[in-house]
């Protein structure tokens, strides 16, 4: 073997690629020089540059985890109508970029024919941003792809129309690390039992001090079990967060019945009107019920209906609840307020009502 063949190829450390070679020429030409935009119809944006140039964006929903045949189908449409230019949003919607208005309607028609919903703009329910789940994650409690597919089927009309008071951004996470992020509505795994420990494996698989350090409530300590070094959990202290499971898989946090789903509301990233917010707990203990998770869908749709009927234009779900108050919100969605709704974590006192501000 020659010396060159033996020498491994070293990577080109190119980092973040320059997007300009891939950017639509109208966007490149008017970079940083946009004037305003409007939405001719749900799923379509028209941006107007200071130069007078216009670009139309047709936004469509995808399944995010895409096979190459789906991707090539989308590319065919982009070649036919968009000179081959497209982009994706942070919520995995695909955006077709067109400089010819007359191509907008034929593109939409063809997208619909191929089964891609056009929408996700303005006051719609956009695609659920989500995590990997059983398809690929090493610690998942559920399958986000399946939960999201089931939810998006239910919220299809809300995606293709702009009939909500303001935009709705839903997230889903397969464990309590919450990689899906904060949302107007968040559908997240909530464990309900302390980890079941396989003491045979702990010493070989886990770096025990690191696992002890990982616990947010100091409930884990080293222990000798059946003569083997292992770990034990103070189950009275344990908050069932699953933090120990990732660095130590023998501390199994998931279970067929024990892994449950919780729904949270009122999170928001934007600074518009109110400051960014974290979502708050609505209901926990919903069954992790594949393949369609109907109990989760029911709660989410109930929240969406109450929001649509009761919120004022431009109020996000969190803004709306702040105005009407949590007691009224729980009434509207018919969920009883229970002790677990009251925060007990650090700074919990800041969440108490220290006033007579009460809505009757």
């Amino acid at each position: 073997m020659s010396e060159a063949a033996q020498k491994p190829r070293m990577p080109d450390e190119t980092g973040v690629p320059d997007p300009f070679p891939y950017m639509h020429p109208v966007m490149k030409k008017n970079y940083g020089q946009w004037d305003y935009h409007f939405r001719p119809r749900p799923g379509v944006l028209c941006h107007v540059a200071k130069s007078g140039d216009k670009i139309w964006t047709v936004r469509a929903g995808t399944q995010r985890q895409m096979d190459v045949f789906t991707i090539r189908k989308l590319c065919d449409l982009a070649d036919k109508y968009c000179d081959g230019y497209l982009r994706f949003t942070t919520r995995s919607n695909i955006e077709f970029l067109l400089d010819k208005e007359e191509n907008v309607e034929p593109l939409i028609e063809e997208l619909n024919k191929e089964g891609f919903p056009v929408g996700g703009t303005g006051n719609s329910v956009s695609m659920v941003s989500h995590t990997q789940g059983w398809l690929h994650c090493d610690i998942p409690g559920t399958d986000a792809s399946g939960v999201v597919k089931s939810l998006m089927d239910l919220m299809y009309e809300e995606f293709i129309n702009e009939e909500m008071p303001n935009r709705v951004r839903i997230t889903s996470s397969c464990c309590q690390i919450n990689c899906g992020g904060q949302g107007d509505i968040a559908v997240n795994v909530q464990y309900t039992k302390p980890p079941r420990i396989n003491h045979e494996l702990v010493a070989n698989v886990c770096e025990r001090p690191a696992v002890v350090a990982r616990c947010p409530v100091a409930a884990i300590r080293p222990a000798l079990v059946n003569g083997k070094p292992s770990l034990e959990v103070d189950e009275k202290k344990c908050v069932c967060c699953g933090a120990c499971y990732a660095p130590c898989p023998p501390m199994q946090i998931n279970g067929k019945e024990e892994t449950r789903i919780a729904v949270w509301v009122g999170g928001k990233h934007s600074n518009a009107r109110s400051k960014p917010r974290f979502h708050k707990l609505v209901v926990a203990g919903l069954p992790n019920n594949p393949p369609r998770w109907p109990e989760v869908g029911e709660v989410v749709m109930k929240i969406l209906r109450a929001y649509k009927e009761n919120a004022k234009d431009w109020e996000r779900i969190g803004d709306w609840i702040e105005r009407i108050g949590w007691p009224r919100f729980f009434e509207l969605i018919d969920v009883p307020f229970v002790k677990h709704h009251i925060d007990t974590w650090t700074y919990a006192r800041l969440t108490h009502n220290h006033s007579t501000h009460i809505q009757y």
Binding site: E13, T57, M66, Y85, N271
Partner: protein
Amino acid sequence: MANNDFKVHPTPKLDELEKGPWPSFVTGLKRLRDAGKRYSPMINDLLGQLEHSYEERLGFWKGGTITVVGYGGGVIPRFSEVADKFPASSEFHTLRIIPPAGYHYTTDIIRKMCDIWEEYGSGLIAFHGQSGDIMFQGCSSDNVQPAFDALNELGFDLGGAGPALRTSMNCVGHARCEMSCYDEIKAHRMIINEYLDEMHRPALPYKFKFKFSGCPNDCVNAIHRADFAVIGTWRDDMKVDQEKVKEYVEELGRDYIIEHVINMCPTRALKLNDDDTLAVDNKACVRCMHCLNVMNRALKPGDDKGAVILIGGKRTLKIGDLMGTVIKPFIKLETDEDFEALVEFAGEVIDFFAENALEHERIGETIDRIGLPAFLEAIGVDPDPNMVLHPRQVSFVRTDDFQAEMERMRAKKAAKKEAAE
């Protein structure tokens, strides 16, 4: 290279996810299974394992260590725990690949990626993962290196994983948005590409994420999700085109504008005049974006643009969710020098994190542990009332140098003023 020589696993539960109007990932997986390609048996077993997960309500992947030559991270290894039942997908690793900043693509480049992934991977690609990467999912251990080499030859690099600088993201911004207050792509690429070594050779206490939003609408969720958020804003007066304001009033009605624009201003900085023009108290305005969002033809950010830097956002583990804290209430982001100063400051913060954070501690948690004043002192940033909601309300603090600190800050302010003149 037809490959149909396998027994198709029944997937009655997953089949349920082919129903309904939304595009189905299951249908997509079946297309790969039925394509008669090299990867088809792998996808068949993947579907088998996923169906098994749907039955058992448990995941069956475990991690491991897989890298490419020259790098220490960026590949997410997945080994099946039920490989005896599903051997063809026993290795199903993911390559995290950094997308073009702002997620701009041509079909040409995407088709080339598809071809590479058909040759070496599974044919399954996610645009994009929550980390911001293109997720090339489903690669055997042997194929990780050639798959990376091919993608790397195409001009793409491996993203971040583990305790490292992570792949970043920016909003569409300058490329297609009238609200954009700085060149997001420039800031994003300058910072990440300067500190790329921290991405490819994980040596930080834990992950470190940058995110870049062009305005306070924060479309990439930077305050919640980034250790270091750069969010565009402006310092001078917002721009008001009074004729266009009148058009909005005409179109939507006075009542609507008062209820949904004026009354929703968080600092009561707006007033609709009797002649349907808008009065703005720019000193009271907090640049929340609401009125600009509603009346985007009439209202615009000002000319004196730049960004706010917030540090310390992260998700739940370990001490609970944190949002970023304002550390720089305003930086100019116009000239090359402005951007270079941002890159330098980012480097100082990464250095602080590398030297002071505990193992598996995010920088927000470090700040929480040592206190914001200590963090500011360490990175050489002066305290500013914009960093907090209000001053301290508990008297338990040692203040014997309070007057001296006041003198020091006064002198600093005076020196700065003199330098500016």
